[in-house]
Point group: C2
Chain length 424, copies 2
């Protein structure tokens, strides 16, 4: 390791030690105290609006100099509306119930032991994210409310903005006498800081990466800390032979068009061969009317008048995040499920059908975080599920799948009460 990295490592280690120390201050904090803190953060953001905008302007200038594109600058920008959004978000988190200390289960053993399973915070959570600085506020508030200490490592481009937001948490924490280490930002722009952070398994209990595929891959390949990936969504809608065409059309358009750049938007449409010849021209026309680019299988191409390009094998694996959709005719529901199993990302997949056997089969056999029956994949979302807010949508197979809200930012411990029992 060179000198800079040794400095970063020293500084990160100190930060992690202090974070670990803060765990006990936070784990059993009452809901009222947590809410009071979050309201103070909201107040501090309001008061420091100008500072936040100035810090954000520095980031934007820097990004412009580096020739970043418009979409990037947009994600980076904290205008008044977004700052209002942060404040509103904090107030929403205040209104959510405290996830800590719920009795999830309790039972008595024949020897008289009383066992209860109680929800507790995870401990220290590391959030690694990219350019959107409002994530700092959102992620920090959810971690705080769920009783977790949080260490945030944002993208280097939003460094100044993140610092300005961290200062609001610091101000609020100090004002109530809580350690400022409950919410800390990694004070380095370097990617090396991320690599080093991912090895701090002694101090950090969980890493949640939020961002593009390459970030998430980097994190999961380099972390010695457990990671819950919020990976890509290659989401499917399968139109069964028994589907109501109007329902199918409404759902497909919603899932593709309402917000194409998000992970629960649909990317691939699978149509049962028995209805393909009738349904395909209608849906292709509707999608084209909405400026959706279509990549179809050979059969799809044969069925429509519009000139559409042939989908490659790569297309089936692709999360377009754009007004593009790939379409395939399948021979059966088994074919559809096999396609989803092979090319999907276990995120959100839907069936449109009126046939009970098909619905049952699809629900059982499609292994996605959420399976949608006659409704849009766009509902895979913490807010839509009624969780109030989410830290992201997990595509992993352990701990949490789908929307991760406050409850999913908790784990449990067992409390076993006896009166002198010993093991025979």
């Amino acid at each position: 390791m060179d000198n800079i990295n040794i400095d970063i490592q020293d500084s990160l280690t100190k930060m992690c030690v202090l974070a670990r120390k803060a765990v006990s201050s936070l784990a059993n904090l009452s809901n009222d105290k947590k809410n009071d803190l979050l309201m103070r953060v909201a107040g501090s953001i309001e008061k420091n609006r100008q500072n936040i905008r100035e810090a954000n302007n520095k980031d934007i200038e820097c990004a412009e100099k580096l020739g970043k594109n418009k979409a990037f600058i947009d994600r980076l920008t904290l205008n008044d509306k977004r700052i209002d959004g942060m404040i509103k978000g904090l107030k929403e988190v205040v209104n959510l119930s405290d996830p800590v200390g719920r009795t999830l289960k309790d039972w008595e053993r024949p020897n008289g032991l009383m066992i209860s399973k109680v929800s507790v915070p995870i401990g220290v959570v590391g959030i690694i994210f990219e350019s959107r600085p409002n994530v700092t506020c959102e992620a920090a508030s959810l971690c705080f409310k769920s009783g977790n200490v949080v260490i945030l490592k944002g993208g280097k481009e939003s460094f100044e903005s993140n610092l300005a937001i961290e200062r609001c948490f610091e101000e609020a924490l100090t004002s109530v006498g809580l350690p400022i280490n409950c919410v800390k930002l990694v004070p380095f722009r370097e990617r090396e800081a991320t690599s080093l952070l991912l090895k701090m398994d002694q101090f950090i209990d969980l890493i949640i990466p939020r961002g593009g595929e390459s970030l998430i891959r980097f994190v999961s390949m380099n972390s010695s800390i457990p990671v819950i990936k919020h990976y890509k969504g290659v989401c499917h809608i399968y139109v069964d032979a028994s589907a109501d065409f109007d329902v199918a059309k409404k759902i497909i358009l919603n899932a593709k068009i309402q917000r194409p750049a998000v992970c629960n938007a649909v990317e691939t449409l699978l149509v049962h061969k028995d209805v393909a010849r009738k349904f395909m021209p209608k849906i292709v026309k509707s999608l084209r009317n909405e400026d959706v680019t279509i990549r179809g299988c050979m059969k799809t191409l044969d069925m429509v008048d519009e000139e559409i390009s042939l989908a490659t094998d790569d297309d089936w694996y692709t999360e377009y995040l754009d007004l593009i959709i790939s379409i395939k005719v399948v021979d059966s529901i088994d074919d559809a499920i096999a396609h989803i199993t092979k090319y999907g990302s276990k995120h959100s997949d839907a069936i449109v059908s009126d046939d009970i056997a098909s619905l049952d089969k699809f629900q059982k056999e499609v292994d996605s975080s959420a399976v949608f029956v006659n409704c849009s994949t766009r509902f895979n979302d913490g807010g839509e599920f009624g969780f109030g807010a989410e830290i992201g949508i997990s595509t992993d197979k352990i701990h949490a799948r789908g929307p991760m809200g406050l409850e999913e930012l908790n784990i449990y411990k067992y409390i076993v009460k006896g009166s002198g029992q010993i093991r025979e």
Copy 2:
């Protein structure tokens, strides 16, 4: 990579592809069919008892040549009693309820969507373990019953024994027409095979290492697959100022002596200063009567007549797994909790007290997988919790803590049923 490693990698990749393919055969298998298979494995083990013993003898001879110690040879040995134990274990797993397909929660949203959270298998689970060959049978049966495909990598010393047990699963799987890839052993002795397996994140959903500290550390440092660690147990018993001495003595002796070589045995005793002078001579005498070696803090040394050695800072971190205990006098319950937080391993910690405020504080502030109140730490066990069987005791902070039984070998998916709902 050299040629041998390329061969291993090719072979492992093929194995993993086939394992992934087997997932769908297993995920929705009925409880009856799973139980039938497990009974057939039991039959096959009975039938192949002689082959298993011969294979085991080869392993033992080899280990003896390598000069392995008696304890090692004992763990490796499959005598008739242990083979009976494997058969009995299979039958016990048959009697457990099917964890798959439980509705964990369901609710309706204002827009009419019906959401249910349903338990499903994790998928492909990799178990990495050391010398005890009976783990092969135990882990495979639990994974199978919970609907998971399992890939097992045992210690090189038990290679032949593990193969012989795998053959029994193979025979049973073939007899009912299930893919043999539902239960597979890595056919290499090399440790490189473990390193390569840990990078198969495309195919394997979860790794569970079972064994000593160095194995678990190796696995968690080298895995790109999520790992649930079953780590060491540096377990404490805290004797509060209000403790009933008889209860305390009974619990301490049980937790130290009943089976010292296991993770939920006690390693450190913390005694409140107000009762130390009275309690310490009694407990030290009792422990010495049971041949327990004692390492005490300076105050402990002052309080007893017996010659006991001074505990070093290292002692407080040590999982002795032996008839050794370290003892410390603490000034307060806060001191005790601080000691547990610093030196403990979040496994099993107990308080002996009759004071409600102390009990409440200890339960809340000690962050261990299980906190024991007036009972032995030895109860941190799947069987004792009523789970029937366990794959191990998790010391991690995500997915599962404490005993991991069949339910903890499952995760969930959401099923969202609508009638054409779209997102506005």
